[in-house]
Amino acid sequence: MTGASWETAPAKALWEAAPAATARKAAPDWGTTPAESLGPLGVPLVDLLDRVLATGVVITGDLVIAIAEVPLVRLSLHALLSSVNERVQAPWTDSGPL
């Protein structure tokens, strides 16, 4: 995929144009990230959280069960997210996606 596979209207200039390598350099240090293309890492956090949190009733992990009968981790994350959103602007509005 080229950089053009990601597009948004207003946020576009902020993150679509950034090549993956730049995005990765700006990313928090996760250790040694390999150079190969991993797809779009400079994804807006809300879009990512929409997916990594809300996804999937396919499986339930031991820990999620251990915390409560319901997936409390995920519930509290939703609460956290909305409280974050109340206080802080989306992270990329001022400083880019990462």
Partner: protein, 273 residues
């Protein structure tokens, strides 16, 4: 693997098909394992690896129980920066896997006490995983968001000379403004529905996500559609053409496309009604 003295948990990123003897000579599971071995994953210093479970393969990483146990995990994910770091790390592994093989992403922080528990969990849901894998193979998720600008309506009301003089005139104006706002809102929703219908026509599955609030979108626009679509890989060009045409026709709304994503929103395709 980690030294056995350090208690670990098994963090599961995703589930792929395994490379049993009936698979092709390409040995997809091995290819997957090789492709993931270099990834930092959650940055715990242990390799991202594959774990066979019958016809399935889990993409896992050992994480220290001390850092990912119940309380530690709660603390970790309550910290905004750490939440973002984990979400991006999770996404990086899933994206890498989905480049190599059809991949069912699992939610952030899906943790098991050990590998055996992972295998048991996969065995239990084997059929729904296989169904989901069939469904997402050769397909990708695309996100389409529709926004409506919230600026003042283009009210062409003539600024009559002594408009504020009469209470009745004032009330009329308020009512007119409200009606036009409601009308615009209805138009916007209809436009969003037309977008959804058009993209749905190209997709094999669709799902509505929660629209974002004003904290995310900013005051200048309202999020009216947040949808995910599962499309065959060859249809990206059609999708882009359809959106270009919609953008041309639907001038009252902003349409944003994101993707291709690993099929996050369609992982449970086999289990939802």
């Amino acid at each position: 693997m980690t030294p056995s003295q350090v208690p670990t948990l098994s963090y599961v990123f995703a589930v792929c098909r395994g490379g049993g003897p009936t698979e092709s000579a390409e040995r997809p599971a091995e290819r997957l394992a090789e492709g993931l071995a270099e990834l930092p994953g959650l940055g715990t210093g242990t390799p991202v690896r594959t774990l066979p479970a019958g016809p399935l393969t889990a993409v896992v990483q050992d994480v220290p129980a001390a850092g990912f146990g119940e309380e530690a995990l709660r603390r970790r994910l309550s910290d905004r920066a750490e939440l973002e770091r984990c979400a991006r790390a999770h996404h990086a592994v899933i994206t890498a896997a989905s480049v190599l093989a059809p991949t069912v992403p699992l939610p952030l922080a899906t943790l098991y006490l050990d590998d055996r528990r992972v295998q048991e969990a996969l065995d239990e849901r084997q059929t729904s995983f296989l169904t989901a894998l069939d469904r997402i193979a050769g397909r990708a998720e695309w996100g389409v968001k529709v926004y409506a600008p919230t600026g003042p309506p283009p009210a062409p009301e003539a600024p009559s000379t002594d408009s504020s003089g009469s209470g009745r005139t004032y009330l009329d104006r308020v009512r007119t403004r409200r009606q036009s706002r409601e009308q615009r809102h209805t138009q916007t929703l209809r436009a969003a529905e037309r977008v959804d219908t058009a993209v749905r026509g190209l997709a094999v599955a669709a799902r509505r996500l929660r629209p974002h609030g004003v904290e995310v979108t900013g005051k200048h626009r309202t999020h009216v559609l947040n949808a995910a679509y599962l499309l065959d890989l060859g249809r990206e060009r059609e999708l882009r053409a359809a959106l270009a045409s919609l953008r041309h026709d639907e001038t009252d709304i902003q349409i944003e496309l994101s993707g291709p994503w690993a099929p996050y929103s369609f992982a449970d395709a086999g289990t939802t009604p």
